[in-house]
């Protein structure tokens, strides 16, 4: 038992599951992640949609990307279920939630207290007249 080897790790990931990671799975994962990324990029670059629709669409694409990564590359859902994996997964979800929700809260608060351009120009003029 000197060290974990690649096949040991596979065992950790999917013990006696016949469904091994296949080339087909990786190709599907790779292809769909590229399509999702390109769609998001093209939408943001050339999309002529309204802002709220665009935001919702991009968020959906991001979530889909997340799912693709988890299913095709991290093989979530196929492992024999140790509690450990579930715990790691939940911790990750919790921390991602904290970071995303926290950042949105903070950035929104900062944004709400920023001057708009007109106020800014006014402010700078006042400063110059001093």
């Amino acid at each position: 038992m000197s060290s974990l080897r690649a096949d040991d790790v596979d065992v950790l990931v999917s013990r006696h599951q016949p469904e091994q990671a296949t080339l087909k799975g990786y190709v599907i994962g790779f292809g769909s992640s590229i399509i999702l990324t390109m769609t998001a990029y093209l939408l943001a670059r050339y999309g002529l949609l309204d802002k709220p629709i665009m935001v919702a669409l991009l968020a959906t694409l991001a979530l889909a990307q997340f799912a693709v990564q988890l299913i095709y590359f991290l093989h979530v859902g196929r492992e024999f279920s140790p509690r450990l994996k579930l715990m790691v997964m939940l911790t990750m979800m919790l921390i991602v939630f904290i970071l995303v929700a926290g950042s949105i809260w903070i950035m929104n608060s900062l944004n709400g207290r920023m001057m708009n351009t007109k106020q800014m120009v006014q402010y700078m003029n006042n400063q110059n007249n001093l």
């Binding site: 904290i98 608060s109 900062l110």
Partner: protein, 662 residues
Amino acid sequence: MMHVFANFWLGKLNLQALPPNAIQWFGALLMISVPIGLAVFLTVTKRWKWLYKEWLTTQDPKKIGVMYIIVAVAMLLRGAADVALIKTQQSISVGHSMGILSSSHFQQIVTAHGTIMIFFVAMGLMFGLFNLIVPLQIGARDVAFPFLNATSFWLFFSGMVLVNLSLILGDFAATGWLAYPPLSELRYSPTVGVDYWIWSLEIAGVGSLLSGINFLVTILKMRVKGMNLMKMPMFCWSVLGSTLLIAFAFPILTVCLTLLALDRDIGTHFFTAGGGGNMMMYVNLIWAWGHPEVYILVLPAFGVYSEVVATFSRKRLFGYTSMVWAIMAIVLLSFIVWLHHFFTMGAGSDVNAFFGIMTMIIAIPTGVKIFNWLFTMYRGKIRLESPMLWFIGFVVLFTIGGMAGVMMAVPPIDFQLHNSLFLIAHFHMMIVGGVLFADFAAITYWFPKIFGFRLNERLGRIAFWCWLIGFLLSFIPLYILGFMGATRRLDHYAAGLGWQQLFIVSAIGAAVIGIGVGVQILQLVYSYFSRRNNLDLSGDPWDGRSLEWSTPSPVPFYNFAKTPHVTERDAFWVAKRHNLKDTRPYEDIEIPKNTPLAMIIAAGALAFGFAVVWHIWWLAVIGLLTSVVSLIVRSMDEHTERIIKAEEIERLDKLYSGGLSR
């Protein structure tokens, strides 16, 4: 024509990249002389082959740990040289005198000091200890992924080389150690300084992430039979907490740096002032990594103190379960406090209040740990040897610094103290008093295990007192100066402010610390040459409690001749008390073969980083290809391990247990 040619082959690199003045030439020459000196030494003593076979290609975590610590100590000296310049400048650059450094050079030095001390000293010492101690304490012969471990070390090494290259070619970031935009954007920092900063941290950061994951898996999956999580030594628990934080926090750093690099290199607008960018998002992201980073460093330090206090009080650790919960509470809470680094950026009072309160709450589990250590000492048979002295020094400094931290957790107070020298004094007390003192305690404590002889105790004590007194002399004035309004990264101030005396006291303090460092080097050299007198023949010089002390010193490459038998906490202590003898037969052991590929992958990364800094695109492609191809070659290799027969292990074990000296 010539121009196009040079542009292709050399990118932005030209003669102007060489140092502009005498001080910087001196630094550059000093930096070049180290590798040249080493090369000459190795050639003269004919040690190249030895170095390659024994060290550069090794996958033994103990050797990797030693290399981490050597690099970190070298970087500590580099960081200390930076301090000497900073303190000199601040003592004499008053009123009409402008001191010895230009403003921009001073800013570069301060940035380099912060970057190097955190990423290459504190992190390096920490990973060094992980490598040396974690496998031994959990009764394992190796880490979960030995090749990945070697790769992590070499990536760390490459990042270190890149930081130091900036002394010779080009300049370093003059932005402060976290390089906030818009200052760090191309428009305001047009030289390669920020690029050096980005790519050295990017490379070292990936190494840290991989290493973090490696040790997380090692602790979860490689523990010897019988050692469930609640029977692990406390150091391993703290490493578990630290690596969890690494796994979740370091990706944020990587992304953040990548976005900044994209802004600088291909003209995106993530953090620019115009084009829809928002520099406040950078500050938000970098601290979402930065606060956990503090606990990444300090949790293992707490682990070291837990081991030292229990051993030197000859008692089992008080409140083991509460310690575990405290660690886990800190892990979670350290993701919910990051805004306390930018209260003044302008969020609403609701946001500031929330993060202020969360910050105060994190002091509770930390306090629990302090009391647990004190209760461990209570009625123990305390031996005040130098590891214990470092611990006591830590309690004093950490309590003062921690209270200053709780003060700054109150947003209105923080508005007064933000970016002042008060803050500098606070976090140096946490990182030097908390982390560095723990590393010194750990090195003294585990040194005989790794090298087979003890460090000289007397010199260790002198070094400790130099550090403690020097530290207080150096940083108490900074608290006062902070209250008086002195800001951080200050390279010049008016004479009428009356700050000069305090700055001079602080500089004297730094000199006393410098003497302490000198004594430590002397301690190492002296202990080596007088090692016959302090050999550790028993393998258990301190009457230790955990499994590493059950092995002979220095630890043989296979760690344990027979996998240890664990039923309780403090397994070795129990075995000693009951005089348990292991009568099981020896078994074959599998160990990883040496390989240069880890080094080659990191060399590719270094070439890539250097090339992107200077926009030498052909080299970037070659560097990247080198790394990727080496990775593929390694993945195809099926024969990465060799077997050592049971008879050979038996022979070696008899030899080592017989008290083999070097």
